[in-house]
């Protein structure tokens, strides 16, 4: 095994090839590269490693185990479907950037040490920024810059952690750091900084606003790519780095609830789905915090299932946007009549995210809830149940209802082109197949699975929870009137506060500055006169006496001597 068999390589090569590929060969490159990556991932024996030395450090550039493999698998499947979905509509720069992005995500997932992980982490930030930016609108440009700012900040926090870890720990290998969180001293500081860096990418509070701010500004296919990699690599690194860290239970539960509340306030269809990414990642983070094999399996399985149904939902929303040019609930409605395939796929995605029995969400999310029961975490279990009901409320019904049903908007666009429809139908089928045959997913989970999702009790309690959440939706519909608004979030502090501060502090600062500039200009003029007098055209230092010069040299000498002895 060598570096050449890295699964990231085919994707990165494809991104270089894409701009110089003829249109007829484009689809071959776009679909062939992810398949090649997938084949490479599964051709590795379990536990295979590629080592290298860098300075004094032993680096593990590639390392394969069950956890890496499940994330690698879903990332390549996602690249395949996303590339197909965007092949005819997306700009080449977007597809190229998306392939670098996916390749870097694979790099993170197969990195065996913190240094190579960090490098891929940063490549991901740059490539994903390019994906957002390539939508080509002024709004996407601004959003991509805010996104980059946040991720570079996260990268710096992570780097501080990695450097501190290199200083205070024996080696840089990437393994569980949960113990170090409470170890005290430098190791503890390093672990907390690394955790914070990871959590920023997961969309954890308080820095979560970047996600619903930036993702909906990308193109339809760009948003599909974005939804899969950044937050899910964060879930992966938390799974490997901080399993059983108790703080993650509470962070995760907050995320699950935050996502719902903000999605309920939102009018933009893709922003609703972006908030629900935070909500769903909250479930996974909670599972990681619980930390038992069942919970970790649940988190990994949920990440796998989530990538598929979230991409499906965003493909469906993207198709609506592409065909109608409208992105707000208040402008849409009644589309099921002319877009039956998009509507059906959207509804299957919505049922999956709500964890309806026979869909992929049910077989993964219920593992996390069961883990909470097994650990007797009643509060966490209740909040997870409430969040499950809330998912149905904000994504399960709200999204399809306002887009495909509710009042008839009179719009009658047809379904999108085949290259967009086929991946949607494929993913919808995958949601159902995973839900009906959970064994196929359970087999590739990191720990042996001893869990049966389909018991009468599970199905009945879940149906009660969800159907009555649905009742609540229709009863409370008048309270959920769509408004043409945005909701303030933590991003207010870096988007509005500086503007307000500048409005207050600006005039005095500008006054002070122009004073300084004026003063320095005057000094320049005077200094010029001085220099012309003593260092003019007729030779250097003509007006200074020899004695004065000697005194100057002597005092400089004295100063140097004094400094030398005092040092």
């Amino acid at each position: 095994m060598s570096l050449l068999s890295s699964p990231a390589l085919p994707l990165i090569l494809a991104s270089v090839l894409l701009p110089c590929t003829a249109r007829s060969w484009r689809l071959v490159v776009l679909l062939g590269a992810p398949l090649l990556s997938l084949a490479l991932i599964w051709s590795w024996p379990e536990g295979a490693v590629v080592n290298a030395r860098f300075l004094d450090y032993q680096l593990t550039l590639l390392k394969s185990d069950a956890l890496s493999r499940i994330f690698g698998t879903i990332f390549t499947i996602m690249t395949f479907a996303g590339a197909w979905y965007g092949c005819a509509q997306a700009r080449t720069v977007e597809l190229s950037a998306a392939f670098v992005y996916a390749g870097a995500a694979l790099g993170v997932v197969f990195a065996g040490d913190l240094l190579s992980l960090f490098i891929f982490w940063e490549v991901m930030a740059l490539a994903s920024t390019t994906v957002i930016w390539s939508a080509g609108t002024p709004a996407s440009w601004r959003a991509s810059m805010r996104y980059l700012l946040m991720h570079l900040f996260g990268g710096v926090v992570l780097m501080v952690g990695v450097v501190a870890w290199a200083r205070y720990s024996v080696d840089l290998s990437f393994a569980s750091m949960t113990q170090a969180l409470s170890a005290g001293g430098g190791r503890s500081f390093a672990a907390w900084a690394i955790l914070a860096g990871f959590l920023i990418n997961a969309g954890a509070p308080p820095l979560s606003a970047w996600l619903p701010d930036a993702y909906p500004e990308a193109s339809p296919s760009g948003t599909v790519f974005l939804s899969a990699f950044t937050t899910k690599t964060a879930v992966y690194v938390l799974l490997r780095g901080f399993p059983g860290a108790e703080i993650l239970i509470w962070v995760g539960l907050f995320m699950a609830c935050y996502g719902i509340i903000y999605a309920l306030l939102e009018n933009d269809i893709r922003r609703i789905l972006a908030y629900s990414i935070i909500n769903q990642v909250g479930f996974m983070v909670t599972g990681i915090g619980i930390g038992t094999p069942l919970a970790l399996n649940g988190a990994a399985a949920h990440a796998f299932a989530h990538i598929i149904y979230k991409a499906l939902l965003l493909m469906s929303a993207g198709s609506v946007l592409y065909m109608t040019g409208r992105r707000k609930c208040s402008d849409l409605g009644g589309l099921f009549q002319s877009m039956p395939v998009t509507a059906t796929c959207g509804i299957i995605g919505a049922l999956s995210i709500s964890a309806f029995p026979l869909t992929s969400g049910f077989i993964s999310k219920s593992m996390i809830a069961q883990a909470a029961v097994n650990q007797q975490l009643a509060g966490a279990w209740l909040l997870l149940a409430a969040a499950s009901a809330g998912v149905f409320l904000h994504a399960g019904i709200k999204f399809p209802w306002f887009v495909f049903f509710q009042k008839d908007s009179g719009l009658r666009p047809p379904d999108p082109p085949l290259n967009m429809t086929i991946p949607m139908v494929g993913y919808a089928a995958a949601c159902l197949l995973l839900g009906i045959f959970p064994g196929s997913l359970y087999r590739i989970l990191p720990f042996a699975v001893d869990y049966v999702p389909y018991t009468g009790a599970h199905v009945v309690s879940q149906l009660q929870l969800l159907l009555f959440a649905g009742l609540a939706f229709f009863v409370l519909l008048p309270l959920m009137k769509r408004t043409l608004t945005i909701s303030l979030d933590f991003d207010w502090f870096y988007r509005r506060l500086p503007v307000l501060l500048w409005a207050q502090l600006g005039p005095p600062v500008v006054g002070l500055w122009s004073g300084v500039v004026r003063k320095s200009e005057m000094m320049q003029i005077r200094g010029g006169e001085y220099f012309r007098r003593y260092y003019g055209q007729r030779g250097m230092a003509r007006a200074l006496s020899t004695g004065g010069l000697g005194l100057t040299v002597l005092s400089v000498f004295a100063g140097v001597l004094l400094f030398y002895y005092l040092r």
């Binding site: 309920l264 009660q464 159907l467 229709f474």
Partner: protein, 116 residues
């Protein structure tokens, strides 16, 4: 006269939809007579606990969101105004009609990738 609206949109069908929906809800609660729940917490096995919990947790979330919305909602161009004040003299054109920038602002054609 033939009704050209889809059956979901015909007013006379609305009570029927509610009736079938209610039957479905009753059925899934009634199922608890036949299926023994064993959630692991005593309270979670009470009759119709999940139904009641599902409904009321949603009620709480919607009411809370409504309350929060009253505090955090702002016009859509809230941040654009802030940007226009400080920089981007070229963005002044957008500023001319901020409230009307609602539905029309997302019209097709403004995005390079939208359908021709």
């Amino acid at each position: 006269m033939k009704e050209d609206r889809h059956w979901l949109y015909r007013p006379q069908n609305l009570p029927r939809l509610w009736k079938w929906g209610s039957i479905l809800l009753l059925l899934c609660v009634a199922a608890q007579w036949f299926v023994k729940l064993h959630a692991g917490f005593g309270f979670a096995d009470w009759f119709a606990f999940n139904a009641v919990f599902g409904f009321f947790s949603c009620l709480v979330m919607v009411v809370f969101a409504k309350w929060l919305g009253g505090r955090v909602k702002r016009p859509q161009d809230y941040y654009d105004q802030a940007q226009d004040q400080t920089q981007q003299p070229g963005a002044g054109a957008d500023q001319a009609d901020p409230p009307a920038a609602g539905p029309a602002s997302s019209a097709a054609g403004s995005q390079p990738w939208s359908r021709p």
